[in-house]
Symmetry: C2
Subunit: 220 residues, 2 copies
């Protein structure tokens, strides 16, 4: 059974990866930098997006593709209220976005007019790690109240990221969180990965993340 | 394509449900009450289990089946340190436990000697909702810092639960959380569901949950 199963899974992944390559070419042709933003439910994906929009709105045209497992437009509505275009993709219960859904999302947004497109993946630390979307960079948001052991428990997603945003640092005085233990877990899985501690509630810590992002955008 | 796909998925679910039925009979014969405990990563599943063990240890024999996506025994070790038996199931990257894994777990634990078995599902609000395990009741833990919009965003898991434990109420003064909005979302999806607000950090709120659990155990 297993010898049969492995090639089938590989074939599916390859079809996804091929479409991801097409998405990437489309972004490159438009000169648009693409971010795949992943996190656990409630870690603050939409809040980080809104803070980023607020601080870059004067200089950068940003679009958002919102992945949700249900037909709710709460997050997309918040982005549109912040003055940027957003497309909502309902995965119909699936636990991740894939390259087909992103291709559909790109059809519904004026990519050519954007400098940056942020894909807010489904809130989940497992499934999104396995699917290429065609974006240029993988960003994970962890948050202080989730606990310091998450890199040890969800290693696959920590291995595949380029940037880690550590949100809700304003809650550090109120919860047990061993920063050294957390950082050690991250470093073992992904040596040298960029880590940006931030608070969406206070606005603290966003400058280094925005500097990193501006440097990436200037290369596109 | 879809007409082919639907029956195949149904067949898999039926096989799982059949094995779930066997698991249920096994628990019933042993006189053991089974809980399927689900939550987002970091909502406090293991902490709620440890608080429950601490308060019931004198009167109730409790075993735990720990589901993890990676071969880490952090949670199982904490249960064993609290003096109760625990079995760790590594899903090998899968985003949920299924009835086969529970059957294997039950083979590794002395079910006959237990009054209560708690299955700690994989940290995820999407996949675990779709798979019966054979336990008697589905309990979801939500937590204050995850945000008040989670019932609206992950409706399937809220629909299928018997009990909702709302953890980390000690953080209410420090985060924005509209309790009425949250409760309204829960009530629309699952009218009359039991809700127990608790804090594992302070120990607050555990008596009503334990009263509910003792009443269930006395019926077994």
């Amino acid at each position: 059974m297993n010898t049969l199963r492995v090639p089938v899974v590989e074939k599916i992944l390859n079809a996804n990866d091929q479409l991801a390559e097409q998405n990437r070419r489309r972004l490159d042709q438009a000169g648009t930098f693409g971010i795949n933003l992943m996190a656990s439910p409630g870690a603050g994906k939409t809040s980080v997006i809104l803070q980023t929009i607020r601080r870059l709105a004067g200089s950068t045209r940003i679009g958002v593709i919102e992945g949700d497992t249900a037909p709710v437009t709460i997050d997309a509505d918040r982005v549109i209220s912040a003055g940027m275009p957003a497309v909502q993709i309902n995965t119909g219960g699936d636990c991740h976005l894939d390259a087909v859904m992103i291709a559909n999302g790109l059809n519904q947004i004026a990519v050519d007019q954007l400098d940056l497109i942020i894909v807010e993946n489904v809130g989940n630390l497992i499934c999104p790690a396995a699917f290429q979307l065609g974006t240029h960079t993988n960003v994970l948001i962890a948050s202080i109240p989730e606990g310091d052991d998450k890199p040890y428990k969800y290693p696959n997603i920590y291995r595949g990221i380029d940037v880690l945003i550590l949100n809700k640092i304003d809650l550090l005085p109120y919860v047990r969180f061993d920063m050294d233990y957390f950082r050690k877990g991250v470093e073992i899985l992904n040596p040298g990965v960029k880590v940006f501690p931030v608070s969406c509630a206070s606005g603290e810590g966003f400058d280094p993340w925005l500097d990193w992002l501006r440097a990436k955008l200037s290369k596109e």
